[in-house]
Amino acid sequence: MRIWKSSLYPIGKILFAVAAALLIISIFFPWWGMTLVAPQYPEGLHLVVYPTKLENMNDLDILNTLNHYIGMKEVNGKDFAELKIIPIVLIAFAILSLLVTFTGKMKYGVIVLGLLCIAGVLGLYDIYHWLSDFGMHLDPKAPIDYKPFIPPMVGENQIANFHTTMGFKLGAYLLGLSFMLMVIAAWRFRK
């Protein structure tokens, strides 16, 4: 394979360095979030997912209280082992990207890209898994009998009186941008 044996031009190396930096920066920004708006909550309830934590714990308490009406399990930051693993994985990817920068060897780049693809798919599946886990396993004895549902990962839906908007946030876009930079480097700036 030519790409496996090829090396990078300086500009390609820089792109990999920038990509590494973006991976680290994305740790400090939210990746995914949802906003729920209802007549009683015109300012909205916000749940924001960082790669390390869930934020707006106060809103999360309110959400949990409201969710119990339809029998949804309690959402608790401590239950998500991913929040401990993700930052480590990100740092590992950043180190690999820097390895590409320093050696200029595209074989490391291919490994990073390949692993990133796998991690991305796993990540997306993880979100889907949680959404379906929370949405599909509703307590049948809940006060409000609500049909189990899977909220969309990106988009809007209506749950009772709540209009919910879900989507990726800045951290996820930084991650995407990082991946794009690597692809561009591998595609355009390799010899």
């Binding site: 106060n58 308490d61 309110i62 209280t65 409201l66 009406y69 006060p143």
Partner: protein, 627 residues
């Protein structure tokens, strides 16, 4: 060089000027500018437009009106005059569970009512700071502090030793150093028995100086001043150049002890009592006091130089210090004049010992040396408020009107009738060093025929007046329960409330998770550490019936309930049927009540404060097993 400069400078400046001219001609609304000069509120707006606050919009001022013998504080929004809250202070109120919870029961003590006459917002540098509202109870000699973050009474001090009816309280000093409580009734110290025939010798007037610890939210008595057996009516603190001084009005210098209506109306002149509180504070610190019933009592006759008398027209009621602190205004309610006194002249007279005699061992300052102006205001002048533009507004009880006059010149400018007899008035930020000068609320003591009839006793009235222009304008009339005696109006943005109590997991007796709710039993003592959340109670998480409390007849039961709904306006309550127990638990709050389970049987309990669609289902049981 000069030529070059001129080359770009002239066209630039002329271009700018043309631009400004065009902007002025096309965009400035001269009509609006003019009306803004005439009246801040807009001269061409109708009274209805000036007071209309559309649904969803907020008022610009809070009005805190003392509720008189209702023992409450009424909170209104100005200019809409919508009543937005009643704060229970000296009287139990079941909607808030005030008077049933452990804490409020302790604050109220043995009393079930009080006569809340004056309110005072705490001040910093003479400005209302919106932190705390103080109030006093004439009937039972108490002082209270209301936290304006939560609009809840946080402390009640009293009955305070040696006081008998602190009518002219509360008034605060410019940095809230003290709240003074001068008393209306003279009586022997400590309610000791002495016949009224011994009035002149055995009866005394007393002023209490109370301090408030803003951090601990606690009131305490600092010291008291022994005064002659007269009736002390109203008071105010000096400010700016007169800071450190206070003034109160007094009637019944005749020392009548029966049929006061006639007996206390004989002297042509009564007195204002001028006192140097900073001086007295120092004397007390040095030890110039005697301890009477646990209070440090300062005697101004034994330690002269701090308390003086100034003659004032017959039976004075109000006395008010002007915003600049240069004058104090008082009027005899049985004389048609208001007198403007000069603080500077007062200090000079004291220094020069310019006295016209002595009464009860206290020097009387020569009236002519301290008077600035005498103003013919009208009949029955009571209280004065200010607009910050050099004008004063005095209520006329007998004339049923408000007079506006200039403080400097003493010239009467305008007079406006109100529906029947006004007592106090409250101007926007009116007791501070910088009144806003746009609104005045006249608090009417009688409001015959102003509202739909509710039988022989008529609603009282608060009337909103626009004082932003040269002439006063009546804007609105709002009914009130008896009796909105006195009020203060504070800018809405100075009040910073919290919406939810902070989640403090270290708070004693609090439980924050449903699974941690539990019951502790020690002999016949049962402590319930429960939670309230939409829409259920959990008293004992490990029980199969988590919302049922089992006790034995005769047990001493305490419910500590934490509302773990940390959400705006999700307040819960807990009432137990037939047990006369009730409390409110605001979001994030822990509240408690305690009782002896003396009746055996089954007693349903329920959330009393509507909390959600399933509020009706938020119930449980107290099961009391018979002996």
């Amino acid at each position: 060089m000069n030529g070059v400069k001129k080359g770009w400078f002239t066209p630039l400046i002329s271009g700018l000027l043309v631009g400004v001219l065009i902007a002025v001609v096309f965009f400035v609304n001269f009509k609006q500018l003019n009306s803004a000069n005439n009246s801040k509120l807009g001269a061409n707006e109708s009274a209805a437009e000036k007071t209309y606050v559309p649904p969803g919009k907020l008022d610009t001022y809070y009005l805190f009106a003392s509720g008189g013998h209702s023992g409450n504080v009424f909170v209104y929004g100005v200019p809409s005059m919508r009543r937005i809250r009643t704060i229970p202070v000296f009287t139990p109120e079941s909607a808030a569970g005030y008077g049933w919870t452990t804490e409020s029961k302790k604050m109220l003590g043995k009393f079930t009512w009080g006569d809340l006459h004056h309110v005072a917002i705490s001040e910093t540098k003479g400005e209302y700071d919106g932190r705390t509202l103080f109030a006093t109870d004439i009937q039972n000699n108490r002082a209270a502090a209301i936290d304006l973050k939560t609009f809840k009474t946080v402390d009640i001090l009293g009955p305070i030793a040696n006081l008998n009816g602190p009518h002219c309280a509360a008034f605060v000093t410019p940095n809230s150093e003290y709240i003074f409580l001068p008393t209306r009734f003279s009586a022997p110290i400590g309610h000791e028995y002495a016949d009224v025939s011994q009035f002149k010798e055995k009866y005394k007037g007393v002023m209490g100086a109370v301090q408030y610890d803003f951090n601990k939210k606690k009131l305490h008595l600092a010291w008291e001043v022994m005064l002659p057996p007269w009736s002390y009516d109203l008071s105010d603190a000096g400010k700016k150049s007169s800071d450190g001084w206070g003034v109160m009005s007094t009637y019944n210098t005749e020392e009548a002890n029966t049929t006061l209506e006639v007996g206390a109306s004989q002297n042509d002149r009564d007195y204002l009592v001028i006192f140097n509180w900073k001086g007295i504070e120092k004397e007390v610190a040095k030890g110039s006091y005697s301890v009477i019933n646990g209070a440090k009592m300062f005697d101004p006759v034994k330690t002269p130089g701090y308390v003086f008398l100034v003659p004032v027209a017959k039976s004075p009621h109000g006395v008010d210090v002007t915003p600049d602190g240069k004058y104090y205004i008082s009027s005899g309610k049985l004389s048609p004049t208001a007198t403007i006194y000069d603080w500077e002249k007062t200090f000079k007279a004291i220094k020069n010992k310019d006295f016209q005699g002595e009464a009860k061992g206290l020097p009387v300052i020569k009236y002519e040396s301290v008077r600035h102006k005498e103003v013919e205001v009208g009949l029955g002048p009571l209280h004065t408020q200010f607009d910050g533009r050099g004008n004063a507004y005095t209520t006329l009880f007998i004339d049923s009107a408000i007079t506006k006059f200039n403080i400097k010149t003493g010239k009467v400018i305008d007079k406006i009738p109100v529906q029947y007899s006004p007592g106090h008035a409250a101007a926007a930020e009116g007791d501070s060093v910088s009144p806003d000068g746009n609104y005045l609320v006249a608090l009417n003591k009688l409001s015959k025929d102003s509202y739909l009839s509710v039988g022989p006793s008529h609603p009282e009235s608060l009337q909103l007046i626009d004082i932003s222009g040269e002439k006063m304008k009546m804007l609105y009339s709002a009914p009130a329960d008896p009796e909105p005696h006195y009020a203060q109006m504070v800018k809405a943005d100075k009040i910073k409330t919290i919406e939810v109590y902070p989640k403090d997991t270290k708070r004693p007796n609090s439980v924050w998770k449903e699974k941690d709710a539990h019951i502790v039993r020690h002999g016949n003592k049962v402590d319930v550490y429960g939670i309230a959340v939409r829409s259920h109670f959990v008293f004992d998480a490990k029980s199969k019936t988590p919302d049922v409390v089992h006790v034995n007849q005769g047990d001493k039961v305490t419910f500590y309930i934490t509302n773990i709904d940390l959400d705006e306006d999700i307040t819960h309550g807990l009432g137990i049927t037939s047990y006369n127990e009730n409390m409110e638990i605001q979001p994030g709050e822990t509240n408690s009540f305690e009782f002896t389970a003396d009746q055996s049987g089954v007693f349903p309990l329920a959330c009393t404060n509507f909390c959600s669609a399933l509020h009706q289902e938020m119930t449980g049981y107290l099961l009391v097993k018979p002996k």
